[in-house]
Symmetry: C2
Subunit: 333 residues, 2 copies
């Protein structure tokens, strides 16, 4: 039986951090054994709101590749591809754009929220407004069955499936496939500043590539429970980043549970908890960091993985485009 | 010295008519001797407002090709290409979309006017809204120096040149070239119903492929001067379609001038003028019609001209895309 296809990916706008690990990378490591998994580095999507920073995007492609391989994505099991190397995605987008009204794009909830967050005002790039359609091209090109997304991205999958249904109806062939969104169990890791989201732009992230001393500094500066002033005070563990991180990364759940109880009763200081978190995260990060350093010595190999993956992915996308063009009565070369 | 490059083309939404001849084809026959001329059959652009009529577009590609070759476009001098065979145009569009604001697209005067004409209301396809950017891809891909357009299309060329300037500024390379719009002398032939524009959708066109009997019928039904009721009445020649057509197609200008004088004085009947126009148009159309019939017997050859032209054009577009991607620090395969 054919494996189900899963498509995921990241924009190439910087190194990956613990939030990426919890929100998606951990899941990909599991999925690569059970699914035909495509992981896309979305450099073209990154350009939709970073058109003036091409060097950042170029450099981030390599950083993300290093993170992927260091964390354990296995090129034998996962096809890693670079979006800009698959011209078929642009062609599909052009055809799909005719199946979506301008009005519909304008009211996409995800895009509306992002426009607000990014303070675009009146100068939203057209490329940013149409990226839900571009994403539909990504998903359909690989005939993905499953797309893991955060809750906030669900409208994007709905937009894709609308295009799929409209395409199949107008062109009278069941060529494109609707995708199912799955949302990860822990969607989001808070930042070290207590902000609900860890992100580069908020400058509150612990990176997969952070050195041990940087890790120590960041954990020591972490936000905890702001009412937990003295060691003997009872403290809150819900939403306390230190405990959220421990839940996500500590293997010794018994010990974490004991610490939580102690913390809630009072008598357990933040620094003790942080020291344990440093230990836990260092155990998690040090092999990744080591492997990343090894890989950095052979960037040609890393790039080669990406090129080979892209060539393989291009074959699938090219087959889909061929079917799409045939259904549309277009002339193929 | 290198020849200057000119890019023109037609959407594949039906056969070509006398309006196309006067407005653009006649000019292309002249330009093919002096310029490096690309003539594009814009099937993808046709899809932006005909997404639900793929068969019409497919069939029209062949009709337009037959018209082109029958009228005298020479594949040795003119590169005829099919837009959907040049994926580079879609890729360039995706990159250019990031350089144009959504707001700017919304206020494109040509697009605004066309939305009105087409009665799109709230359901304008996104593909239709972004087509000025797609057109910028067409023009820049071939590094066109000159683009012949009607007055109403001037804002499209301005949009292209805005993208060119922004691209070259942001990516710090003078890769893209600004294009110069030229407007033809006689921009527009009226319809046989007196409407200012001859067009398929208005059902007032004489086609290059019309049979002799169809031509006779259409000319006999032509609108003239509605105040010229009796033969002895003085008639108007300005804006009178019969005389506009004679000006455009009759070789014997002396005779036309004499007829105009007579018509204005009174005493020259519409039917006499129309009979002469039938003679003139039949002289013009019969060799085109004959050649078209010959070509129809060998559609493989006709398609081959299009495929060869597209392959040649793809080389140019591919080179431009390579330069564009390099300037943007993107990884090329």
């Amino acid at each position: 039986m054919n494996k189900k296809v899963v498509l995921t990916g990241d924009r190439s706008t910087g190194k990956l951090h613990l939030g990426h690990y919890v929100g998606s990378l951990a899941n990909r490591l599991k999925m690569q054994d059970e699914y035909k998994q495509f992981v896309m580095i979305a450099d073209m999507q990154a350009l939709t709101d970073h058109a003036e920073k091409p060097e950042l995007i170029r450099n981030s492609v390599m950083e993300v590749m290093l993170d992927y391989l260091a964390v354990g994505l296995d090129p034998k099991k996962t096809t890693i591809l670079l979006q800009s190397m698959i011209p078929e995605l642009s062609e599909l987008t052009m055809y799909y754009l005719n199946l979506v009204t301008w009005n519909r794009l304008k009211h996409n909830p995800t895009v509306k929220q992002e426009i607000k967050q990014k303070n675009f005002g009146e100068s939203v790039p057209a490329g940013f407004m149409v990226y839900p359609v571009f994403q539909a091209a990504d998903i359909t090109a690989f005939k993905a069955d499953i797309v893991p997304v955060g809750d906030d991205q669900l409208p994007m999958i709905e937009q894709t499936n609308e295009i799929v249904r409209k395409f199949n109806r107008i062109y009278k062939k069941e060529i494109l496939k609707e995708a199912k969104a799955i949302t990860p169990q822990i969607a989001r890791l808070p930042g070290i500043d207590g902000n609900a989201k860890m992100s580069k732009s908020l400058n509150n992230a612990i990176y997969l590539s952070d050195e041990a001393d940087v890790l120590v500094k960041k954990v020591k500066s972490m936000f905890t429970d702001s009412n937990h002033l003295r060691v003997e005070d009872p403290g809150k563990v819900e939403g306390n980043p230190v405990f959220v991180y421990l839940d996500a990364f500590a293997k010794d759940t018994k010990k974490v549970n004991e610490m939580k109880e102690h913390y809630q009763k009072g008598g357990l200081g933040d620094m003790v908890c942080k020291k344990y978190l440093i230990e836990v995260l260092e155990d998690f990060l040090s092999p990744i960091r080591e492997k990343r350093k090894e890989l950095e010595k052979d960037k040609k190999y890393v790039l080669d993985v990406l090129l080979k993956g892209s060539i393989e992915a291009k074959k699938t996308a090219s087959q889909t485009l061929k079917e799409v063009k045939e259904a549309m009565h277009l002339i193929s070369a």
